[in-house]
Subunit: 343 residues, 2 copies
């Protein structure tokens, strides 16, 4: 049993019913319902009363069918809503959408191209006004393969190779450079890079920043120190456990770790705990417990909530036909040195 | 500039166009588009070709206007999508919705009744098929005040006082009882309860479980040990910092902490770090870094993803008219003892 009635098959009151009940012109009801302000106060009160009496409700689903009207709903395709990084991005996007009277539909691709494409198709079927998209690690079909009309799309975190595509990006390269420079300043000479696939543009950019910092310090760019297999916390943990052991063939040991995302940071911390010893560490992406650990974990923080909000604002500006919408927004990162960068 | 064309004002191809192009009956196209399987293979191939050539796309937004058809979109109103607890719930709900061909719209009430009501109104305006709702701490208008038709609603985490309302709940009382019993077994006699407002039903249930464990052990139920002011991490931190000091008036000191949600656990851990000393601690809700800390933090874990999924499945069963949909589902909790429960 449920306390709330199922939608009944009875007729819903229309704007015409409201106009009749309030004894005003249909056009006035329409202006009232669409939030216009310059309506005679007495009329507005009669309309409000009529709406309450009849239980009239706007049908935005119907409005979206009329040419030039919109569903006032935008879609967000991310990797995994349960990951705090993406949840923070979704929250920023949701807040921006709500502030501008839009609803936000979310979907998690799990980094799988086919799943991502199916989500995009489902959102296009629904005639959403526009999409904010984090392209998956395993790409599916190219965007150019979509049959028009395709609504405006803003990419986040991972730009596509498509010229002119709108994208919101963190300053990954600069952030990584600052992180690795802090390890080198603290004495590190053989900094391991632990990251996810270099096919992810943000990862590739962080590797560039890692190399920049080594070059700045006159240190060699050693591919043997650069690991792209940490797709999960567990993989990062195993990888860093290996780095803590004695290197094969008499190679000099690793003396610091740059963890290129929050999974990699947590994996490294688990490996340190298991081994009972640690290496100097700086991670990309802040995480809730970073300041609780001993030593507190130094990180490069992205403003992910701000990136989600910026993406939705850019998308809605595109939809609104605002002139001079930038095609690329790069959001700066912040280095928080808390102690873990030192031996 | 954008690489993706804005929706054009040109006519979209219809199912009739597809039927003509494929030289099959409209009814067959309709069956194909609705996913029916028993269609002649040659016909299905002709229809698929015609759809690709014309760029036909189903208009689910239009479908939702026809009586008996649905938008295949459900709404989720939670407290805050950026909180990992709610993000995990949203992810479970999203996965269940996707698995059943539905989209999920999310909205964060920030525990504010007015904001919550505005989100519900916005979702009802959009004619979503149903809602999954976590009622806010500060209640807004009663559900009975909504003008019908109201679609089916499933409440999560916090039941309403409305008889017969569908709700998915964690076994808060039993989980809290097990947590506090573990502290008492490890020697605690004066266990502080640090939680959020008792007006939140889950909090009230956890306090009942706390009292059960004390009663089981023959310990007094002392209101001075029960704190409901930890609405944020910072408030929990200040509260626990106070507990670590010398009690006023010569009262015996607190000798353990039961943190009734993940904010309270993190606040307690921050206070321990600041003071350089700790008390035995068990928290309600698991968190990512719990196993990284020294000692690892013991928790009562809820299957929040499972609760989100259960809520959507129950909602879609209601929508589908499935008989015998339970009005209340209680999801068990799990106690993970990791060491922090001991002095």
């Amino acid at each position: 049993m449920t306390v709330l009635p199922r939608p009944a098959a009875r007729a819903r009151p229309t704007m015409n019913d409201v106009a009749r009940e309030a004894d005003v012109a249909l056009k006035t009801v329409s202006r009232y319902v669409n939030g216009e302000q310059n309506i005679n106060a007495a009329m507005a009160e009669r309309i409000a009363d009529a709406i309450a009496r009849l239980g009239y409700r706007r049908n935005l689903s119907a409005a979206s069918l009329r040419p030039g009207r919109s569903s006032r709903t935008v879609g967000l395709v991310i990797s995994d809503l349960a990951n705090p990084h993406w949840a923070a991005l979704a929250r920023g996007a949701e807040r921006a959408a709500t502030d501008r009277g839009y609803l936000l539909v979310t979907g998690s691709s799990e980094e799988d191209g086919a799943r991502h494409d199916a989500l995009v198709d489902r959102m296009l079927d629904q005639r959403l006004d526009g999409l904010v998209v984090v392209p998956p690690r395993e790409p599916g079909r190219p965007w150019s393969a979509l049959v028009p009309p395709v609504p405006p799309v803003v990419f986040v975190d991972r730009p596509l190779d498509t010229p002119g595509a709108h994208a919101i990006l963190a300053d990954d390269r600069d952030g990584a450079r600052a992180a690795v420079a802090s390890l080198v300043r603290a004495g590190a000479r053989r900094v391991a890079l632990v990251g996810d696939s270099w096919l992810i543009p943000a990862m590739a950019a962080r590797r560039e920043g890692y190399r920049d910092a080594l070059a700045d310090a006159g240190l060699p760019d050693d591919p043997a120190l650069q690991h792209d297999g940490a797709h999960s916390l567990t993989q990062a943990q195993e990888l860093v456990a290996g780095l803590l052991g004695t290197p094969a063939g008499g190679a000099p040991p690793v003396d610091a770790v740059f963890a290129a995302n929050n999974r990699a940071s947590l994996g490294a911390l688990h490996a340190f705990r298991d081994a009972g010893r640690r290496l100097p560490l700086v991670g990309f992406d802040d995480f809730e417990a970073a300041t609780l650990l001993d030593p507190p974990v130094s990180v490069v923080a992205q403003d992910v909530g701000g990136m989600g909000a910026a993406a939705v604002h850019l998308l809605l500006d595109l939809l609104g036909g605002t002139a001079d919408v930038p095609s690329r927004v790069v959001v700066p990162t912040t280095l928080h040195l808390r102690g873990s960068e030192r031996p």
